[in-house]
Symmetry: C2
Subunit: 248 residues, 2 copies
């Protein structure tokens, strides 16, 4: 037993320990975990209990199971995961297009009070501010403003950021060991200012969808803020709830 006097069920404890090991980097993203039999031995629990712990970690996308191959730490490299955090689709047929990203600005700055609260850091903490313009089907459609705590991404530079050969979240994962698991978003309607209008090829006062996202890693630790302004003339934001991903 491992229970250590906690009042939580054994499988929750196992899940907590496994998640902590992954967060610590004992297994990198994409790496295979020991087999269920071995993990059960390691934690001195039955296979059933170990499986129940991993069941929840699968639902939370911390790990992925492949029958016959093993259980792997979830990775952003797969295409499926790339679109897991990209909810803007083409109007009508809901097609998902790969966005073309252009970085307009990369600056070092200090966290504003509101940002600091959402990032769980002190006011004035060093941050990066990044502005990206995303094009869909060749047309500028989304204007993204990112805020990242410098402490989490120590040696990040504009060159590293722009010369990545994959998604932004994959860069966080492969270079800094930061895995984005969840995102919490708040949406509202806004009017295009002079800035956004010019960049998105709109008239000032055109309607835009504004999305404020907090990206979260293990234990719900915030690792990025992102405000998106979306031109929804040809695109929409998809939201499914009550849904589970379980195929009937």
């Amino acid at each position: 037993m491992i229970d250590a006097g906690a009042f939580a069920p054994l499988y929750k404890e196992v899940k907590r320990l496994l998640t902590a090991s992954i967060a610590k980097g004992e297994w990198q993203a994409g790496a295979v975990l020991p087999s269920e039999t071995r993990l059960a031995q390691r934690f001195s629990v039955s296979i059933g209990t170990l499986r129940k712990a991993i069941d929840e970690m699968v639902v939370e996308r911390i790990v992925v199971r492949h029958q016959g191959r093993g259980t792997f730490v979830a990775s952003h490299s797969a295409n499926r995961l790339m679109f897991h955090f990209f909810h803007v689709v083409r109007r009508g047929d809901r097609a998902r297009e790969v966005p073309e990203t252009k970085t307009l600005a990369f600056r070092r700055a200090r966290a504003e009070p509101a940002e600091a609260a959402m990032l769980h850091v002190a006011v004035g903490e060093p941050v990066y501010r990044v502005r990206n313009l995303l094009s869909l089907a060749g047309r500028p459609t989304i204007l993204d403003d990112l805020v990242l705590p410098q402490a989490l991404y120590p040696d990040l530079t504009e060159k590293i950021f722009t010369q990545r050969d994959n998604t932004i979240y994959h860069l966080y994962q492969s270079r800094y060991g930061i895995n984005v698991l969840r995102a919490s978003e708040r949406l509202s309607a806004a009017l295009a200012g002079a800035d956004a209008a010019k960049l998105l090829g709109l008239k000032k006062g055109a309607p835009l969808l504004e999305i404020s996202r907090v990206a979260l890693s293990y234990h719900n630790a915030p690792v990025e803020l992102r405000r998106s302004l979306v031109d929804t003339r040809e695109h929409e934001y998809l939201s499914d709830f009550g849904g589970t991903g379980i195929v009937q």
Copy 2:
């Protein structure tokens, strides 16, 4: 055994049969199911297999478990479920307010092609069109336009609709046995037309959040369309994904 030659796992088959029984009305919303022991006997499976079937039904909100009391068909009467489909919260503190609903129109009409496709009915099928104005903190904030197939709500009248003493989804459930489990939404930004501006107390051309929802019941059958126009000056739309509801 029950497997009946299907290639699906036993627990999926059990889940399918249980869900079908609920959809058929063998147990009404809020009713208690037989105990796990009895259900396991009924389907000639072990408790473990029966529990795995119910586990998934819990995730899909088809049933709710209460330790020591039993397993119940999910019901809309609970306050928690009411807010499960209401994602508009107060800006800043994200407080959930109970909306005050006023029905502005209730008409019988025919399904337009786009509506018919989304509702899985024939073009021209009889529908109800309902327009509601929702106020939050005493101020008109959301303009809802609903489309319901008349076939699903046979004797519905404006009087029945407006004199319900609970949520709209609870009316569907208690009077017509229709349980809304999921909703699929598409969001975009729009400008207030003369109509919406007047009703929401805005200037024409003010930015609005437009939400198109399809409400789904068992086996993903569509049971309602709803277009919402939201004044997001004081409110926001919340969206969490990658999340699971599992408390760490």
